[in-house]
Amino acid sequence: MKQILEVKNISKKYQGKEGEVLAINNVNFNIKEGEFVSIIGPSGCGKSTLLSIIAGLEDKTTGDIYIEGEKINGISEKIGYMLQRDCLLEWRNILNNTIFGLEIKNNIDKASKQYVIDLLKKYDLYDFINKYPSELSGGMRQRVALIRTLATRPKILLLDEAFSALDYQTRIMVTNDIYEILRKEKITTLMVTHDISEAISMSDRVLVLSKRPGTIKNIHEINFDIDNRTPINCRERTEFTNYFNILWKELGVDEK
């Protein structure tokens, strides 16, 4: 399969009054088309910074990022990014929320609008297009946010702790929902999370970052022998616990 994302030698130094801090040191990895990859690491290891750098929201100190072989600088059209909160605009109805990205990019045409409407229909939101975000449940709001991101047809989707603002039950349901959408639409995804079980339940591979300065400590292939894999049915398997124990040890939360 073809490489979608290549991350080469990324490092990040912060300049502060107290001096320099090396947050990320020499990170390298690739993501293939259609893959779901997660990054986990102890808190403060720079995993969210790494994602912001890939998204072009933050500058890097060294290194290069390629998408489909093309070197990118700054915010790229090819990247979709979802934050912790859904960030829906309360004064816009659902339809106008989902086309927000297209509008910003001045990209609204018949085809793109039809694509959004198809997604809304497919994922049970079409009846709500004239409603406002405050009238929707947390899970529905997150789906709207996802459709807003997918509307611009990104080559790769970045999820930055995208579910951590939800309560536990909603979160499990939403991850299931979102996972299904991403698989159906064949979206390549890179997710940052602090939740090991979320990473295992959704990913094909998990990258473990070391504590600061963050470097890649290890990469784990996650394989479940299930025909219709979903985040929920993975959780029932014995492999799940095995992966969990391995990753838990590797995070080295106990070490000082």
Binding site: L57, L83, W91, I104
Partner: protein, 268 residues
Amino acid sequence: MKNNISVERKEYLKKIRKRKFTIIFLQIAILVAFLVIWEILANLEIIDSFITSKPSRIFETFMNLSSNDLLKHILVTTYETVIGFLIGTTLGVFIAIILWWSDYLSEIFEPYLVVLNSLPKVALGPIIIIWVGAGTPAIIVMAVAISLIVTILENLNGFLKTDKEVIKMAKTFKATKFQILTKIVIPANISTFINSLKVNIGLSLVGVISGEFLVSKAGLGYLIVYGGQVFKLDLVMTSVIILGILAGIMYGAVLLLEKVITKTRFNI
């Protein structure tokens, strides 16, 4: 649905209606009682109506609008207030936008804004009169001076408090600063804006009246000062009451505007 209102519901609605009615009734009763007692005490000469005036004479003055040119004075004050209000609000929001745009500028101007905000603007009166001349322009400048800084600070504060995550979301779509302003910061701050309208209408009136106290040949502020100087307390009282009514009407207009704005869902 409408046919199956339960007994409890009926009782509840009745209770609410009754409460509303008694409140309005008492509000009117207090006013009427106040006026009646005032009139009686003045007629019995328990209070000196030369100093306190009395409702019947105030009413008479009010009815003789034309002889006192009252209508003209009301229009002058209204005109000055509305112009001052519009200039103060527009200019204030505009400056707030500039300062939001450039945090460099806003850091430079912060101490000036803080000092100007706490300075009693009435103290600027004589300076304003010398600079723009004694007359309507000076009064309008006074109204602007009083409402401007508050408008800047209030709106800038609102702009800066706009949800950072939402702005980040827009940035991931490569939004320009102008798009962030028009599509996120301004619509997110509609309620801040309406609040500053409410505050400003009152402040503009304060500016206009204090301006009219200092320099003017017309307006309710002028009438109050003039009436005081010649001991025409009927005129002073009438003017004060009209001023109260005027303030009420203007505030009501802003409330109406608020309703229109909040009801219209802007898809911006």
